[in-house]
Subunit: 336 residues, 2 copies
DNA sequence: CTGTTAGCGCATTCAG
DNA sequence: CTGAATGCGCTAACAG
């Protein structure tokens, strides 16, 4: 079943069929309908490779990632796939080993082999200066999800600082005055945003920022455990801990339960991301929901827009939602 | 940079370059080396679409899934990507809405649009009779991961029955005599295998199978909670519960902690799959590790083998590993 | 608004 | 063991 057959049945030329299929202008409505009818009757589907070859387009977008969070990635991927389906594109996956120069060579290999029309960058490689520079040289379109600096870039982001601010406000409203924070991995812009939101939340509540209540983490469970131990060993430990993501928050809970503390009785805990785990641990976790599916979808649509039109593609912002669950409660002192 | 340029530099014809690149026979070693050198110098990479069009192959495999577990899928995907990279294939993703006739139309649409050379089926659609029948009609190669019936199929599976047997043996060795089981979703072959292993484990220990200790679940957290409540409300509740996956096991733990029970003090719990969550909940979960990455990789290699050689492709078996962690301990009665 | 011609980059005949 | 010619199915440029 080729375009020629459709053309014959509709009594037009190949090119006219091509025009209709590619939504080009300059086709009379009447012939357009006729062509579409023939397409439908013959169950014609354009040949992917032939289209790519002749049009010098691959109809491929590649999703680049080195983020270990399966739930985050599957969320984003679902959105990317949804957008691709609409625009007749296909998605390629490109897991990257690590940061550093290797990132560039791996991406170059991908570009050489698969010739994607555009790239989607996820954190933290969305901030790899080496990569960004190379992509600019290569002049390959790309969109970024949650890039650290958003000016003059296309993609999508969320106001994570404000979300962290809200989380802290929630803790403050429960009477907490000593609130600890486990910072995320330094390579992620999110870590900075969430720390800033934490500080702003304290400031708004008239609380003084105490550096000893802030410990560095790495976004993984173990660093949450370690961070919590440090904080709970303080002479004046916090009554609440805001971990910069759910994995670390679950580590914090683990550490607290381990030493016989009650959550939220003795310690309130909150996280960030709203992974499925956050509702499955005990107690269920108060956290921030990030609309990963939408982010993937919108970033892809903006990427495709920028591919199709020279001036297309914007930096979009998506809303977050607080998920108040069982891991946060009134501060112990407030109970007295 | 085209094959023609390489041919010119190496002083041979296009066809000879093509032969070298596709590892065909009948090329003198000397000329082979000369061609390879030219390829290297020119940084030549074959054009994906042109190769597909001329060779009538898409070099695409599609991974079909309707399994909601992000960790499972990312594991499998990682393996598929690894195998694809070796064989110069690309992977497409095809999330399927649900079982029933829609599965078939969705897959037909995929085949029409992307013309994949082969398909990879994951549970539970790997057992969709409708789909299997249609694929046979279409004569499109496919490999299956953990299919219910493995005779005359290619792909990969694990001895889940034996793993479940081992888990029960572990509980028995801790002194448990009343062991409950939360069955998985009925659409999954895994549910049956794990239930069978449970029964065999009891039998081996000389314990009588008690239907009241077995409740139906759906592989999700909520059904684990519900199942545990049913079991713990029994007049003679179990001292251990084997849930057919980790999500349900975390639900079981949740239900137990909720009513003030200690895990494993009052109740031992184990799961299946070894998702990252299993080491992040409190207490950490005793479970079975499934090598999802290897399974994806091996299934893909077998699929590609069956595409390349008419008689290629086998049904492979991969080993499991027990992960003994903190959610299982001596039976309460055994302590007395 | 529509059709004709040429060629994308490669693999595949079939000769030598 | 190697090479020259042909065409995969489609779109682009140009002609009408």
């Amino acid at each position: 079943m080729r375009i020629e057959d459709v053309a014959a049945m509709a009594g037009v030329s190949m090119k006219t069929v091509s025009r209709v299929l590619n939504r080009e202008l300059n086709v009379r409505e009447e012939t357009r309908v006729r062509v579409l009818k023939a397409v439908d009757k013959l169950k014609y589907v354009p040949h992917f490779s032939a289209r790519s070859l002749a049009g010098n387009k691959s109809f491929l977008v590649a999703l680049l990632y080195n983020n270990p969070s399966a739930n985050y990635l599957m969320g984003v991927m679902g959105g990317v796939l949804e957008a691709c389906a609409i625009e007749q594109y296909n998605m390629l996956l490109c897991p990257l080993d690590m940061d550093g120069p290797r990132v560039v060579t791996q991406v170059e290999a991908l570009i050489g082999r698969s010739q994607p029309d555009g790239l989607l960058l996820t954190p933290p490689i969305t901030d790899s200066q080496l990569l960004l520079r190379r992509l600019a040289e290569l002049e390959i379109p790309f969109a970024s999800i949650s890039p650290r600096v958003q000016a003059r870039r296309i993609g999508v982001a969320m106001d994570e600082t404000h979300a962290a601010f809200d989380i802290v406000a929630h803790l403050v409203s429960l009477g907490h005055r000593r609130i600890g924070h486990v910072v995320g991995h330094p390579a992620h812009g999110a870590s900075g945003w969430r720390l800033t939101g934490y500080k702003q939340g304290l400031e708004r509540a008239g609380l003084k920022f105490d550096p000893s209540l802030v410990v560095q983490g790495e976004f993984d469970f173990e660093s949450g455990v370690a961070g919590a131990r440090t904080l709970l060993d303080l002479r004046r430990p916090p009554t609440a801990i805001f971990a910069a993501n759910d994995d670390m928050a679950s580590g914090v809970i683990h550490a607290a339960l381990e030493r016989g503390m009650k959550v939220p009785g003795h310690l309130s805990v909150c996280g960030f991301d709203d992974t499925p785990m956050s509702s499955q641990i005990f107690p269920s976790l108060t956290t921030v929901h990030q609309p990963t599916h939408d982010m993937g979808r919108l970033a892809t649509l903006e990427l495709l827009a920028s591919i199709q039109r020279p001036d297309g593609g914007r930096m979009l912002h998506v809303p977050y939602t607080l998920q108040l669950r069982d891991s946060t409660g009134p501060a112990p002192s407030a109970k007295k």
